[in-house]
Each structure stands twice: as structure tokens, then as C-alpha cells.
Symmetry: C3
Subunit: 111 residues, 3 copies
């Protein structure tokens, strides 16, 4: 299988209010090499509790693929470029997959 040349990688979920905000945030994340790829999932309906009330909003979901060591910088970037007071930024560990893809992910992101 050859020497493992990939880095610990993660999938990060961030929800945004609409396509425009999602695209703008995704472009800035890729430009800054904070992630290799962002998928924008349309037409999300979100239910959540905020200050004791249940809310129902339309959102879009960004599925971001990046290196684990970039999570803090990515979280700070989202915080600084998002209209919500407390934007969702949650990371899921990638535990394997196509080594060629994970190699590409590594080469498309900052050290």
C-alpha cells in the first residue's frame, strides 16, 4: 500500500441562510486553501431551539473537506465571515477512503 502520505482529514458541516451566503463563504474558504472542496446542499429545512423557542428556517448546508490541523483556522474564518451570532461548525473524522483523493485533499490545502 506504500507509505501513508496522507494527513488526518475531516468533514466539516456549516449551515448558512441562503445560496448566496453559502457560495461566498465556500469561495473564500477554497481561495484561502482552508479546504480542498466544499459541497453546497440546497433546500434544507432546519428546526432548532433558540432562546427557549422552537424555530424553523430555510438553510443550505456546506459539507467541507479539509485537513484536521486546519479546523481551528477554518472555524475562525467562518466565525469572521458569517452573519449568524453562533454559526454551526462541527467536524467529523475521516477514517479512510481513496488514498489518491486524500492525497489530492492534502495538496489542495495549506500546511
Amino acid at each position: 500500500m506504500g507509505e501513508n502520505t496522507i494527513v488526518p482529514s475531516i468533514v466539516v458541516y456549516v449551515t448558512v441562510p441562503n445560496r448566496e451566503a453559502g457560495r461566498k463563504l465556500a469561495e473564500s474558504i477554497i481561495k484561502e486553501k482552508l479546504a480542498a472542496c466544499v459541497n453546497i446542499v440546497p433546500g434544507i429545512e432546519s428546526l432548532y431551539r433558540w432562546q427557549g423557542e422552537i424555530h424553523q428556517d430555510s438553510e443550505e448546508l456546506l459539507i467541507i473537506k479539509t485537513r484536521e490541523p486546519l479546523l481551528e483556522a477554518l472555524t475562525e474564518h467562518v466565525r469572521a465571515n458569517h452573519e449568524y451570532e453562533v454559526p454551526e461548525v462541527i467536524a467529523l473524522p475521516i477514517k479512510g477512503g481513496s488514498l489518491k483523493y486524500l492525497e489530492w485533499l492534502k495538496n489542495s490545502t495549506r500546511d
Copy 2:
């Protein structure tokens, strides 16, 4: 970074047959404080094997964000409020992200 005040958290996938069933289940989950937030992803096409045959159905996907210790109660709640004989309930570990978000998740869910 301050004392880690968050709790082990998870993303849980549950598929449902349609929007109405999805919304009803999501609302009950939030009301019971079994999760802080539920995203409903529309227009899913599902292919699966059931009793030896390959089936193709339209579904919606609930992406549920909650505390890990609530997984068993959430699984039981889904089982009791879902029309499928064996509903999908699978949990993915959240390994980090925005501490403010994870704090909000903790405060929006039961102990």
C-alpha cells in the same frame, strides 16, 4: 482555550418517507430536548436491499445534532415514532468545531 465545557456530541442520520413525517419527527425530537437542531435534506433517492430484492424509494434525510449520551433515548424515540419496521438511526462522532456552537448544543439538550 479555557476549560473544555462541552460534552461528547454526535451527528445522527435518520431517513424518513416524506417531508410531513420528517417534520413531525423533527419537531418531537426538539420538543423533547433530545437534540438541539435537525436539518431536513429533501429529494433523497434511496437504493437498498430488503428481503433479497433491490428497492428504490424517495426519502428525506434528517441530520440530527445532539449529545452522545442521548443516543439511546433518541433511538428509542425514533423507533416509537417512525412508520418503518427498522428505521435507520446511525451516529457519527463530532470530534471538534466551534466551542460556542457545541456549548449551545449542550444547553439546548437534556442532561
Copy 3:
């Protein structure tokens, strides 16, 4: 709770250029018992870096549920049946959920 009869399981993400390609790949994966279930998520907009340029494409996302030991065979199957040079195949660990569902997942996949 009875003896844990389930196997380590994973959620695998694979992106595809369109519904036709997604359906064909999903059917072949289920037929080969390389997974128990595939959800196709429509209308994805993907932004990514390829050979130094930022690209924006329409895609669909396959969310595949299978056993962890099948990841290598699934990755090879995707590589051999996908039009991309480097298709995305990334695995997220399932850490719990409905035992009945996970039992069904095990029985719907190859050993």
C-alpha cells in the same frame, strides 16, 4: 442488550457528476452487496481547486452505508466505475445507533 452481533460500520461519501451516473453506480454497489443502502442527494453545487484553478460544478452526493472491512473493495469498485480521474471516496465511522438497523446492514452486505 444481548451480545453485540453488529460489525464496525461506516458512512462513505462519493460525489458523482449527475443522477444517471449516481443511480448506475449505486445499483452496482447494492447488487455486489458492497453496501446495504445508498442515498442519492440531489442538486449539489461543488467548489474545489483543481490544477491551481477554482472550479464550480453541479454534482450529486452518494451517502453509502456499509461495513468497514468492505471499504477497500468499495473504493476499488468506485474507481473502476467512475468517470472522474480521482473520485472522492471518504469514510466516516459509525459509532452507534439502532442495533436492529446495524444488524440489517450487516446481513445485507458481503462477508
